[in-house]
């Protein structure tokens, strides 16, 4: 096949959270049209045929919306291209003969489950602490019964595009979760539905974030540069502001 492409993969293999992990090397025959995850499917087929343990990695939608496909590729979360997830990365972004290193997200708050698959339930606990609005059940209200200016709706939507992938944490030298928390807090602080719990929310979410063991932000900007949804750093400024206001009000 003229399109054939041979690469060498250096993949992090780790039996479980407690085990000592290490890099293993594999040769894979792929082609430029494959996605990075399809290339991993090929590798796993190969491993299974050889009677070896396939590489555990997370994926679900394979179209950039679920946020599961966490891989640090050649030192960058989701690989060398900006604004995409691993499932949207294709082998044409690499060259024939390349050696590519693949590791899991690394942060104390994201323990490795196996190989490249990490446990991100610390994010779920942050959301559970306040990343929601409480509403009474009943009939669904008319979509336009609460008027929201287009500009505000757009800004809230921009923050709402966060898919909770955790690339921000994985890229940050402090393993800080501020971009993620900032996105959630900003989204709800902008909308009328988020007002009732606005102050309690930000304090509860930041407390949970700290308790989960994420580091403090030092504004290097690595998170926003690596975020597949290009969530801007300004959401962290908003988070700081919201938190300060709530604290000054004695929350």
């Amino acid at each position: 096949m003229e399109n054939e492409m041979k690469i060498k993969l250096k993949v992090w293999r780790q039996e479980n959270e407690k085990a000592q992990g290490k890099f293993e090397e594999y040769d894979v025959n792929t082609n430029p049209d494959m996605s990075f995850l399809e290339m991993f499917d090929v590798l796993n087929e190969q491993l299974i045929t050889e009677g070896k343990d396939p590489v555990a990695f997370d994926h679900d939608c394979r179209e950039g919306i679920c946020g599961m496909c966490s891989m640090v590729i050649d030192g960058r979360p989701h690989g060398p291209k900006g604004g995409i997830t691993t499932c949207q990365l294709h082998m044409r972004s690499f060259n024939n003969g390349d050696t590519i290193s693949v590791e899991p997200w690394r942060a104390n708050s994201f323990p490795v489950i196996k190989d490249l698959s990490v446990n991100r339930s610390s994010f779920d606990r942050i959301i559970a602490a306040g990343g929601f609005v409480s509403v009474n059940t009943g009939n669904a209200v008319d979509a336009n019964s609460i008027l929201i200016p287009k500009e505000t709706a757009d800004k809230a939507f921009e923050a709402a595009t966060c898919i909770g992938c955790g690339a921000c944490v994985s890229a940050c030298k402090n393993a800080s979760a501020m971009l993620f928390v900032g996105a959630k807090v900003t989204q709800l602080a902008l909308l009328p539905q988020g007002q009732a719990e606005r102050e309690a929310r930000v304090v509860a979410m930041v407390n949970q974030m700290d308790a989960e063991g994420f580091g403090a932000c030092s504004n290097t900007g690595a998170c926003a540069a690596e975020c597949p949804k290009e969530i801007p750093l300004s959401v962290i400024a908003t988070l700081n502001r919201e938190y300060m206001k709530a604290k000054m009000n004695g929350k």
């Binding site: 890229a171 393993a175 800080s176 932000c217 504004n219 290097t220 540069a225 700081n240 300060m244 604290k247």
Partner: protein
Amino acid sequence: MKVLSFLFNSSIGRKFAMALTGIFLITFLLVHCGVNATIFFNDGGETFNEAAEFMGTNWLIRTMEIGLFIGLLWHIFQGLWLWQNNGMRRKQKYGKSAGNANSTWYSRSMGLLGTLLLLFLVLHLKHFWIVSRFTDEITSGQETLYGEMMEVFGADGLISVVVYVLGCISLSYHLLHGFQSAFQSLGINHPAYNPIIKSLGFGFSIIVPLIFAAMPLAMHLGLLQ
């Protein structure tokens, strides 16, 4: 007091404290730089000595000096704590990491740059502050602060000059990240103001350390009388 406890026990509160003390120290640098730049009048240090005498005797300035030290110590201890603490958040390090692809080296090295500055500061305080506040060399009129500078940086002062220039380089990189970072930590990030903060920060981080570095250099090279 309880309202302010978040400054000590939450990640965002600590950042906030770093930013406030940082901006305070930036204003101090401006004053310090302005006063010291009077040596460039090249009047044998006359204006400078007068300014130094005023700064050393005026009660308002002396009171603010206490505030300065509190701010400085707060910034140092908080900074060291954050450096140490943030460093523990990723026990298993990356085999390969491409940090330069997403951030500047100096934004990731604030703890290191700050520590270099701290070491420099110890020497700097020993050179000038201790002499002028805790000995009577200057008050008794045996020596002027300008004369002291000439002595430290003069013909035999090559090592001091090199250390001071290195200190100024660390300061410059520390400020390149710190200046704008302080505003972000305080929640000031808005398309209308960001360009002003960025260019002001950039200018300040280059110009102020440059003026500071020019002082020992000019003295060592014999450009000042």
